[in-house]
Symmetry: C2
C-alpha cells in the first residue's frame, strides 16, 4: 500500500476544513496525511521528513502523535460515512470529527527514512463518539500503538 | 513568564541530543521548545506558527501533543537533575529521557496567535521512571491536559 493508492477521506472535506497542519490537503506546509480503507481497517501512509528527528536516525514522538491523531479523526469520518452509506469518491461531504483524547505508547524508537503505516481498528462507542486503535508500523514491525477518541464536530465549534 | 526568561534544560543537552524537532536547539526547522522551573512546577512557553492550524483560528492537536511530549521529557530531566543536586546553568550534562507514553485530553479548541504555556507537575514513579501531568494554558484558560510517562534513556538506545 502506498499513499497515492489511497482513496482518502480528507480529499472529500470542504475547503474550510482542509487546512489542518496534520491532514489538510490545502495546508502547504503540513503533513497532508491521507486516510483510507484497508479492508475493514484504515490506513495512513507517511514518510517523515528529514527534519522530523528525535535523535539522528529516529522519528520524534510528536510526529507519531500527530499521525495517530489525524489518522484517528480520519478513520472515524470514514466509518461514519460508510455507516451512512457512502465511500470516499461518492461526492458526498463526510462527517467531520474532532479529537477528544489521544494516547500513544512508544514501544521502541521509530526509524527514519522509511514509510510509516498507521493501521486503525475502529469501534463505535456511541453514534457521535468513536474509538480508533492504531498501530504504527514500519518494515512489518510495530513501533507504537495509539488510541484516539473522536467525536463529531459540534455545531458550536466555530462559534 | 516569557520564553527568553526560562533557564532551559534543553540548553544543557550535548549536541548529539539537541536535534529533536520538538525541543532541540540545533534543529533549525523545529519548535525549539525550552523547559524550565516555575517554582516546584515546570513551564514551556510556545506560540504556534501560523501554519499550525486545525481549522482557521485554532491550533492542530498534533502540536499540542508534541508540546506535552517534549515538555514532559524536559520536565523529567529537570527533576532528576535537581534530585542529583544540579540546576540548568551549572555546567553539568543533565540526564536524558525518552517518552514511554503520552496522553492528551482536549477540553476545547486551542486558540491560535497567542502564547501557550505548558505547566507541568512532576511525580517520581521510580528512580528511572517519572510522570508529568501538564496543563496547556492560554490567556489563563486550560485548553488541554496531558500526561507523559518518561523513562531514562537506556544505554542501548542508539545500538
Amino acid at each position: 500500500m502506498v499513499d497515492k493508492e489511497i482513496k482518502a477521506i480528507q480529499d472529500e472535506y470542504p475547503e474550510d476544513f482542509a487546512l489542518c497542519y496534520g491532514c489538510g490537503r490545502l495546508n502547504k506546509d503540513g503533513h497532508k496525511f491521507r486516510t483510507g480503507w484497508l479492508g475493514e481497517q484504515t490506513v495512513t501512509v507517511y514518510t517523515p521528513r528529514p527534519e522530523h528527528t528525535a535523535i539522528p536516525g529516529f522519528v520524534y514522538g510528536g510526529l507519531i502523535a500527530s499521525l495517530v491523531d489525524c489518522h484517528g479523526t480520519g478513520s472515524a469520518s470514514l466509518a461514519m460515512h460508510r455507516k451512512n452509506g457512502y465511500e470516499p469518491g461518492d461526492g458526498v461531504a463526510p462527517p467531520r470529527f474532532v479529537t477528544a483524547s489521544v494516547h500513544v505508547d512508544f514501544y521502541k524508537p521509530t526509524p527514519q527514512h522509511v514509510a510509516l503505516q498507521a493501521i486503525g481498528t475502529i469501534e463505535e462507542v456511541h453514534p457521535k463518539r468513536w474509538k480508533i486503535v492504531t498501530e504504527v508500523v514500519a518494515n512489518d514491525t510495530v513501533y507504537a500503538k495509539g488510541e484516539v477518541v473522536a467525536v463529531t464536530m459540534p455545531d458550536t465549534f466555530l462559534t
